[in-house]
């Protein structure tokens, strides 16, 4: 096995383990920390694919900004440990078969694909930050502007909701 393959499996295992731990942890803060590990492991996978800018932004935006807010809110609310309840009926009768079905589909897809699946080429066009921003501000400028408009509306909504009490 070459070094990139080893690194891939280490990061992938880390991401999956952290995701499982995110669900199984009893304390919200521990769940949030597990989610941060997932984000950082994903950033490592992006880096492995040669998308450095996306990797850095993944950590800055998701690992940094968004998860800090999660942690912040959990701390401010002083959320304690969750209590375990019995599984809901829906989860037992519908959830477990569905989970098995999805696992089966994925396993089948992996089994049917040939062993010598070529790794995704690090696409030269997207790796450079310059090309990325050129694309974003020329070909995809409408979706980009629409997204920023959407975020602006969300911010205004948040301010209106926060101001209502006064």
């Amino acid at each position: 096995m070459t070094a990139p393959v080893v690194i891939f499996f280490v990061l992938a295992a880390l991401a999956v383990l952290a995701a499982v731990s995110l669900i199984l942890q009893r304390h919200p803060i521990h769940s949030a920390l597990s989610l941060i590990v997932v984000m950082v492991a994903l950033a490592g996978l992006y880096l492995l694919l040669g998308a450095e800018f996306v990797a850095a932004v993944q950590i800055i935006v998701y690992g940094g900004a968004i998860m800090v807010l999660f942690v912040f809110v959990i701390m401010l609310l002083n959320a304690g440990e969750e209590e375990r309840t019995n599984f809901s009926k829906l989860a037992t009768y519908a959830g477990i078969p569905l989970a098995l079905a999805i696992a089966g589909f994925i396993a089948a897809a992996i089994a049917r694909s040939s062993g010598a699946l070529p790794a995704a080429e690090p696409s030269g066009a997207l790796t450079s930050t310059k090309t990325l921003s050129m694309l974003l501000f020329s070909d995809f400028v409408y979706p980009f502007e629409l997204t920023s408009f959407l975020i602006l509306v969300a911010i205004l909504g948040a301010i209106v909701l926060a101001q209502r009490e006064n």
Partner: protein
């Protein structure tokens, strides 16, 4: 053996460089505390540490021994995992951020592997630095929360709010430099500031003076130092997020704080003050003797000062140190190649030291902000000014292009 070294040089050389850098940084951290205590003492008309070793020079060593051997009680009802994770995370991230900083221009070859001064030379090094800074919030927030103490929690919350707020201004204040340089790599940004014959006039601090002021203010807030050290305001919060930490775990927060001071000073040097570039034009060749000109008189003065020191230990140690400094200065005069090699690092560390001194100077001079003042300053003044700086810079660049 040499085959093995040549084959795995890509692995061995970085590990060696990391070991050397970590050793150097920890030593500098230790002596930074000594410098800080001495400088503040002199600002306040005191002597500062002067008992352990001549001029208190062995004080950092004594502090280190004390940190290791002190009892390390764990308070009841702490969240064990987060309580232990927090100091390690803080220190690890602080040290990691130094990995992308280039300290000098030269490349050198070890075991047939070409490398340069600095650990990793990535082409998005500035983004990597910001990513690591973004994660740095967790260490302090977790420490405050896990300690199960209201002062710690308030300190941790204050600090995370402060760091999120000032991170925006910090990132935006750098955009001007990025627009001018057109490069995310710190090495590239320094190389962009190299204009032959212009010396310090080509540094980005002149076109980006607003950006620099915003950057430095935001960086001080980001490292939780005076006048923005509210997370540890002892009159209100005992010791803030590290109230419940003792011994080596406290030392980790302490080392992390000093390491991030060094990182921020390195970053200010690289982005705005030309990194390893000399402030003089290349034609002034005599300026390359400046390191010797500074080292030799200083070494001679240390010898002179040592001979009249009050106790025998000082009368032996200080002249020895002075002699070593003089010999290094003389060696630089004799060996031209060596002198050429240290020019870059010399200027780099001179600039970094200046910024560190300003940090300490401010701690001795300025009072602390109030919390609401801090927040309104960050959001209502610093952020708009750095956005205006971005707009202004882009307009000027566009105008020049046409």
């Amino acid at each position: 053996m040499s085959d093995f070294l040549a084959k795995y040089a890509f692995l061995i050389v970085p590990i060696l460089k990391i070991a050397v850098l970590v050793f150097l940084v920890l030593t500098v951290d230790a002596y930074l505390t000594w410098i800080e205590r001495k400088v503040i003492a002199h600002i306040q008309a005191r002597w500062g540490p002067h008992r352990v070793g001549p001029h208190g020079l062995l004080q950092p060593l004594a502090d280190g021994v004390k940190f290791i051997f002190k009892e390390d009680p764990i308070p009841a009802h702490v969240d064990k995992a987060a309580y232990f994770l927090a100091p390690f995370l803080t220190l690890m991230l602080a040290l990691t951020s130094l990995a992308v900083i280039p300290f000098g221009p030269q490349t050198f070859t070890v075991f047939g592997y070409q490398t340069h001064i600095g650990i990793a030379d990535v082409n998005i090094s500035l983004l990597v630095l910001f990513a690591i800074t973004a994660l740095g919030v967790y260490g302090i927030a977790l420490a405050g929360w896990a300690s199960n103490n209201k002062y710690s929690l308030l300190g941790g919350l204050r600090s995370s709010a402060q760091m999120i707020s000032y991170e925006l201004a910090l990132t935006l204040s750098v955009v001007g430099v990025l627009l001018l340089a057109g490069d995310f790599s710190l090495r590239g940004i320094v190389e962009q500031q190299t204009v032959p014959g212009k010396g310090l006039l080509s540094w980005y601090v002149f076109p980006q003076i607003i950006g620099f002021l915003c950057f430095y203010i935001a960086a001080i807030a980001e490292t939780n130092r005076v006048p923005f050290d509210l997370p540890e305001a002892e009159s209100e919060l005992v010791a803030g997020f590290h109230t419940e930490y003792a011994s080596m775990k406290f030392a980790m927060f302490f080392i992390a704080e000093y390491t991030s001071m060094i990182t921020v000073s390195c970053l200010a040097t690289i982005l705005f003050f030309g990194g390893w570039l000399s402030p003089f034009p290349e034609t002034w060749t005599w300026t390359q003797y400046l390191p010797s000109v500074l080292l030799i008189p200083f070494g001679l003065w240390v010898i002179f000062d040592g001979f009249r020191y009050e106790n025998l230990f000082g009368r032996i140690l200080l002249p020895a140190v002075g002699f070593a400094l003089t010999v290094i200065g003389a060696a630089l005069l004799v060996f031209a190649a060596l002198n050429g090699a240290i020019q870059g690092p010399f200027w780099f560390f001179a600039k970094v030291f200046t910024f560190l001194f300003v940090y300490i100077w401010m701690r001795g001079t300025l009072p602390r902000f109030r919390y609401d003042q801090l927040m309104s300053f960050g959001w209502k003044f610093l952020l708009p000014v750095s956005i205006a700086n971005v707009v202004l810079t882009s307009v000027v660049i566009l105008w020049r292009m046409h």
